[in-house]
């Protein structure tokens, strides 16, 4: 590939991620950041021939921090939404997402109408929550700070059904028994991108190019397979 590193890309490139969203980004017991997002970030940096500097940053401050130039990019499974695009730009997407409902085994839900009168849970500040708020009329919606909290309330029975990004839910279902995906796949054309400050076109171009490059040379596939048995791009 190119000999020189990409133009307009800071070196080292400072990247923020949340660090509490397994299996995409989390911290392992050695204190290292790991997960799909993290591996992708490293792969992208390698492709751009710059050094990576990853920081774990609380979700609430992650966009303000980007705008205030505390780091240059956010790779944290952030959906590209119109609202976010008002304050930041996105490169990518680097994967795409759809939603599924999760419920105790045997819950009879085959269509949206079956959700009436049930309590639905979702993680706040996710597209799942947005979808639930916009589309659920007959039921109540509860919003949780973390995915784990939502799982926990599903187990205690305070909520009946979860609506969740498919991959983390898939990951969770591997670890428990008694719960399953129910109802249809909810496709909302959710694309996950890399947030950068507005107007940094050079960086955006470089990132886009790098994503394309790792898609082509098989690096992406390697990372993908490490976490999921299916292609999530």
């Amino acid at each position: 590939p190119q000999a020189a590193k990409a133009q307009g890309v800071p070196d080292p490139l400072r990247i923020a991620t949340e660090g509490a969203y397994p299996p995409f980004n989390n911290v392992n017991s050695k204190g290292e950041l790991v997960g799909f997002d993290v591996d992708i970030a490293k792969t992208i940096c390698k492709a751009m021939r710059v050094k990576c500097k990853l920081v774990a940053q609380d979700w609430d401050g992650i966009l303000p921090g980007l705008v205030a130039n505390k780091y240059d990019a956010v790779i944290a499974s952030m959906s590209i939404t119109a609202e976010r695009q008002q304050i930041v730009d996105f490169a990518g997407p680097y994967y795409s997402n759809y939603l599924r409902l999760v419920a105790p085994k045997g819950t009879a839900i085959s269509s949206m109408a079956d959700l009436d009168g049930r309590i639905l849970g979702a993680q706040r500040a996710t597209v799942a929550a947005q979808w639930a708020e916009d589309n659920i009329r007959g039921g109540e919606v509860k919003l949780y700070d973390t995915q784990t909290a939502a799982y926990s309330d599903l187990e205690s029975g305070r909520v009946h059904v979860l609506v969740s990004d498919v991959y983390p839910a898939h990951d969770w279902l591997q670890t428990v028994s008694g719960y399953e995906f129910v109802g249809p796949r909810i496709d909302i054309d959710d694309k996950i991108g890399i947030a950068i400050r507005k107007g940094e076109t050079d960086l955006k171009n470089a990132l886009d190019k790098a994503i394309e490059q790792i898609r082509n040379n098989g690096e992406y596939k390697k990372v993908n397979e490490k976490y999921f048995p299916f292609d999530i791009y």
Partner: protein, 238 residues
């Protein structure tokens, strides 16, 4: 058993991460306490000033700081201070870009919050010192400042320490706000560990124990200080 192995020190467990978080929490809290008390005394003095031109802005400031959610104060100070300092430095031609260290940013933010509450406590303590005590001080020719240091201040502590003790406890836990500016203190470390292992409650419980340990130690110090501050005062208890 499984729980304990989760807490192992080193690569396999979370013990060292949590301890590092706790250490950061302690550092943040201690440094903030120092500056917070100084700032709090100043604010209390301004608040009690007989000049409206000093008193009113001070009251406004206290109201705004106490009225705004803490994490917002911290965000504003960390991100705002940074920008304005940069502008000033650029204007002076000293440096192109200024980056406030995260630790310093957190301390400034927490100290601003702490001092706003401490000011109120000092004000109450100020008033609680019997009037005759200060009169005796100025009557021997002490300036109000000298009287303040030598008479009012030592007597203020006994009224202030219970309230400050509460504030210290609040502060120790408010350090978790620093997570907003990417400092991995104890509570955030516990959160991260909890999310990663999908067992947040266990790590919260462990964090709670660590907090309890820290507060237990500091409470002993507080009780000692309180007893000391009450020396010479006939006890009402009993």
């Amino acid at each position: 058993m499984e729980g304990l192995s989760l807490l192992a020190l080193g690569a396999d467990g979370w013990g060292d991460e949590l301890l590092r978080g706790a250490w950061l929490t302690l550092q943040l809290a201690l440094v903030t306490l120092f500056f917070g008390i100084l700032l709090g005394l100043l604010l209390a003095a301004a608040r009690l000033s007989s000049w409206k031109i000093i008193r009113w802005p001070c009251m406004g400031w206290l109201l705004v700081v106490r009225g705004t959610p803490e994490f917002l104060v911290l965000l504003l100070i960390y991100f705002g201070l940074d920008r304005y300092l940069s502008q000033i430095l650029r204007f002076l031609g000293i440096a192109e870009q200024f980056e406030l260290p995260r630790f310093a940013g957190a301390v400034v933010g927490l100290a601003v919050i702490f001092s706003a509450y401490a000011a109120e406590i000092f004000r109450g303590a100020w008033r609680a010192v019997p009037k005759g005590q200060m009169e005796a001080a100025v009557a021997v020719g002490m300036s109000p400042l000298a009287g303040f240091w030598r008479v009012r201040m030592p007597q203020m502590w006994r009224f202030a320490i219970p309230g400050l003790g509460n504030l210290w406890m609040v502060l120790l836990k408010d350090t978790s706000l620093a997570a907003v500016i990417a400092l991995n203190e104890l509570l955030r470390m516990a959160k991260i560990a909890g999310e990663t292992t999908r067992d947040p409650l266990f790590f919260f419980a462990v964090a709670a124990l660590i907090y309890l340990f820290m507060t237990a130690c500091s409470d002993l110090v507080r009780l000692w200080l309180e007893r000391r501050a009450r020396r010479g005062v006939r006890a009402v208890a009993g």
